[in-house]
């Protein structure tokens, strides 16, 4: 009964290795592994079994199962309309579940919505900032919704404006802020109650690279402090930067689950060789490509060869007399996994 709040738990040691791959990650670290949680056994911050959301005859989320552990960064990846936002809204206790089971922070959203909401932060897909108030007033009034005193809310507002680098805009109206600034303000606002769990629905969609990297950096710091992050995205680089573990959703279901590394290993090859041919040549190639790689994918302008050794495959192609316009060997990415699992057809 005395489990410490996840906020109090230092960053888990298992994410140390991620520094190497995340270029923007801050390098300050808590350093001490969290032993407290291990001794309590696995306990889910979010647990979903057969979770379903239907809107009339349309099924937005179709009986999905997942668990999110304390301190973890968990991602929902998927094309538009896959059911990510509906899932997030059920976790955020604003959208009632249609069927299945869902527990958040060990509580039932249907009966304990307000109690759960007191401990979570939400960054919705569309900003809900108040345009009639200033930047700082937006934060203070939001703190009041969590019953912080005015003094506490004011102190928290200043601290958070510092954190998202908006201190110099504190007294400005929200309306003229750039998209990136509004997003940062939304994130600051979601932290006003020092949440144990932060829900981020497409946090960086529509932002320029500088703004995205700044946001990633801030989110990574929160993660280091032990805040559990759950995010949806359709940016693969974002998922690789931020998620310890993710699920890929497609057509209301979960089609794959694992760490970015595991997913790449399972659904793609170590490397990808991309050969681009002049217009018209690719259609004439058939047997010449056979056996060059574990899997071959033809696109209109190029051919992708999934293989563990891209250089070797390129050399083999060359020795068969193939003369592509460009040759590119790259590491397999989450995008390859994503496109393999959810298809290349445009979904609208």
């Amino acid at each position: 009964m005395t489990t410490p709040l996840p906020n109090a738990v230092p960053a888990d040691s298992s994410d140390v290795g991620r520094d190497a791959t995340s270029g923007t990650a801050a390098t300050e670290r808590a350093g001490t592994p969290a032993a407290e949680h291990a001794s309590e056994g696995p306990e889910s911050l979010i647990r979903a079994r057969g979770l379903t959301k239907r809107f009339g005859a349309f099924t937005a989320v179709d009986a999905i199962d997942f668990d999110v552990a304390p301190g973890e960064s968990f991602g929902f990846l998927g094309p538009n309309g896959a059911g990510k936002t509906s899932t997030m809204r059920m976790i955020g206790c604003v959208s009632p579940i249609t069927a299945g089971e869902l527990s958040v922070l060990g509580l039932n959203p249907a009966s304990d919505g307000a109690r759960i909401k007191a401990h979570i932060g939400v960054v919705p897909q569309q900003d809900t900032l108040d345009m009639e108030l200033t930047v700082r007033e937006n934060l203070i009034i939001y703190g009041r919704y969590f019953d912080l005193s005015r003094r506490e809310a004011g102190r928290k507002a200043d601290e958070l404006l510092e954190f998202v680098q908006l201190s110099d805009r504190a007294r400005d109206q929200v309306e003229p802020l750039s998209g990136g600034m509004k997003r940062r303000l939304t994130i600051a606002r979601s932290l006003v109650n020092e949440p144990d769990l932060l829900l981020l629905d497409e946090p960086t969609t529509g932002l320029d690279p500088q703004a995205r990297h700044l946001l990633w950096d801030r989110l990574y710091r929160l993660k280091q402090r032990g805040v559990t992050l759950v995010l949806t995205t359709h940016y693969m680089d974002e998922a690789e930067q931020l998620c310890d573990r993710l699920v890929i959703m497609d057509k209301a279901r979960i089609v794959a689950e694992g760490s970015p590394h595991e997913l790449i290993e399972r659904y793609s090859s170590r490397e990808v060789l991309e050969l681009r041919f002049p217009v018209g040549i690719l259609e004439t190639l058939h047997a010449e490509l056979d056996g060059l790689a574990d899997r071959i994918e033809r696109l209109p302008d190029r051919v992708l060869l999934y293989t563990d050794d891209g250089e070797a495959a390129a050399a083999a192609a060359h020795s068969r007399g193939l003369r592509p316009e460009t040759v590119l060997v790259r590491r397999s990415s989450l995008e390859d996994v994503f496109l393999r699992l959810t298809g290349r057809t445009l979904i609208e």
Partner: protein, 272 residues
């Protein structure tokens, strides 16, 4: 399960679903825009009472008219009617764009609903704010009435309460209606086809006995007529207790039914 441990933290949930905090939010926004409402709050009643009560009244006040108005001057007849009817207009303008905008434009209600603030808290905070606005507007109006000498009975001061209740009888259902709107097109219809006719034909400017018999029952069903009759009866000291109870019951019924509808409409709009 560790749920109880999690539930005993530094953070509290606001009482009453956060109604007080929502009220604070409204007040914070109003602090930025109050200048614009000074005219409608304080100056327009003065102008209205001067033009209608004093100006028009001097044409109306002669034997037969005074008799049909119950033996008082036109101004004394009109003023409490305007007091109540103005509550309707204030309430309608506070509960249309402000509500729809909170769902569609700024989405601030969605932001509130992501916190421990509940649907009931949002509605309570909004209606409490409307009540505060109505009280302010009605008090200002009553002071002007008093200054012009248009109040006959000391009970007239209770007309402020009648004005607030009339306003709330409109605020609650209009709030519910506004929550279901995707844009503001319907609001002009509300003002043109409901608020303005009700303002003109619910006994504010002339007794509804002047209306054709066939239309009179419609007036009886409207909160405006009951609010006007209540405020006037109080101000002229002509109110009978049974009539007062009927007026109060009708206004209360509109407030209760409107609030219940608003709970459903808000929940639907927020939990999609």
């Amino acid at each position: 399960m560790t749920a109880p441990a999690r539930a005993a933290p530094r953070l509290r949930r606001p009482l009453a679903g956060g109604g007080r905090q929502v009220f604070e939010y409204k007040a914070l926004v109003y602090r930025r825009v109050w200048r614009g409402s000074v005219f409608s709050t304080f100056l327009s009643p003065v102008l209205f009472l001067a033009a209608m009560g004093v100006g028009l009244g001097s044409f109306v006040d002669h034997g037969s008219a005074i008799a049909s108005l119950g033996g008082v001057s036109y101004a004394a007849f009109l003023a409490p009617g305007l007091l109540a009817a103005q509550g309707m207009q204030t309430a309608a303008s506070e509960s249309t764009w402000a509500i729809m905008g909170g769902f569609v434009w700024d989405r601030t209600f969605h932001g509130m609903y992501a916190t421990p603030v509940t649907v009931a808290g949002i509605i309570a905070g909004h209606l409490a704010w409307v009540t505060a606005r109505l009280t302010l507007v009605a008090t200002a109006f009553f002071v002007v009435m008093l200054a012009f000498g248009f109040v006959v009975s000391p009970f007239g001061v209770l007309g402020i309460g009648a004005s607030v209740l009339t306003g709330l009888a409109f605020a609650a259902p209009i709030t519910a209606f506004a929550a279901g709107q995707k844009n503001d097109q319907a609001f002009n219809v509300i003002f043109r086809f409901f608020i303005t006719p009700l303002f003109l034909f619910s006994g504010t400017f002339f007794p509804i006995e002047q209306l054709p018999l066939i239309i009179r029952p419609i007036a009886w069903l409207t909160p405006t007529w009951h609010g006007v009759a209540l405020a006037r009866g109080l101000s002229l000291g002509s109110l009978d207790p049974i009539g007062a109870l009927v007026h109060l019951a009708v206004l209360a019924a509109y407030i209760v039914a409107g609030t219940a509808w608003a709970l459903i409409a808000f929940r639907r709009a927020l939990s999609k």
